[in-house]
Subunit: 188 residues, 2 copies
Amino acid sequence: MATKMCTPVRLEPPRGVSLWRRMPDDELINRVTWKIPNALALIGSRHGDTWNGMTASWITQVSMEPVLIGVGVDNKAVTHRLIRDGGAFSVNLWSAEDTRVFVKFSKPAEKTDMQLNGRPIREGVTGVPIFEEAVAWMECAVRHAIDFGTHTFFVGEIVDCGINDDEARPAAISDTRMKYGGVKRGGH
Amino acid sequence: MATKMCTPVRLEPPRGVSLWRRMPDDELINRVTWKIPNALALIGSRHGDTWNGMTASWITQVSMEPVLIGVGVDNKAVTHRLIRDGGAFSVNLWSAEDTRVFVKFSKPAEKTDMQLNGRPIREGVTGVPIFEEAVAWMECAVRHAIDFGTHTFFVGEIVDCGINDDEARPAAISDTRMKYGGVKRGGH
């Protein structure tokens, strides 16, 4: 089932726009937003015969009842189409000791048998790939999809989850030299 | 101006609900969600004469154009009311070397002159408090407020931001013994 997209109401500024003439410049916005110590994980997605894994860092829980997890995905990404059309995704936390995986999954993954980019996967209850090597993983059924502009925030309810390695420290973006966020770059 | 609240469309499961009979138990959901290596920061908010600072860990960017930052806030928190009614918030990243501040700001803050819980603040362009000791800070005007159940995800556009200490490492929740997220606890 295709996910219905929700465009949220755009709110007017609470005070006069004139207050915000002195907008911070792009370079400063980049430097500040890159300091947010986000997670780094692989997002699993699938629609029909197309399976993917994608590195992502805009990940957070957003509700405790139901337990909802949100992931920001670039509207141009293959993963965006797969989550929209497949209605589910997995969040695979990875060991901070094996961050090479994140560079590899920065472009669409190659599937051979039950592997993505050579990393073993299995099929979750919703059909999305779950990475066997993940430190811990959450499988989420999409409940809300909110298009915020360049990215859609997919919010899913945890329908299955597990821990494969309770000792490993899950990777954060600060464990790598990767930067993500800030302003839209030309040609991005 | 009061923020209009947006209740997003609830989507039906993409496949038969019967697939999800084996929901993970609460303890497992807690253990897995607590592994998400989130940020930890102080959220500044204000409405009229009421100012507050609150520890929060559900923080992520959600769009690059405009540059939008989302923060999940408990619907019962003072900060929820202040952001809803004030229409703005600040995200104050803090040094990982000074995490005591987060325990202190887990309940409504006391304001004396231009201090919250003894920490110096100044008034941002939207009127919200900005912490002078923050490593880096973002001041955001609320554009969307999405009630996901127990928490509202306030999404604001960066209208001002800055860096006070470019060397300090911003704190993550993993720098503390704090846990946040998982399922709703009784009496919470």
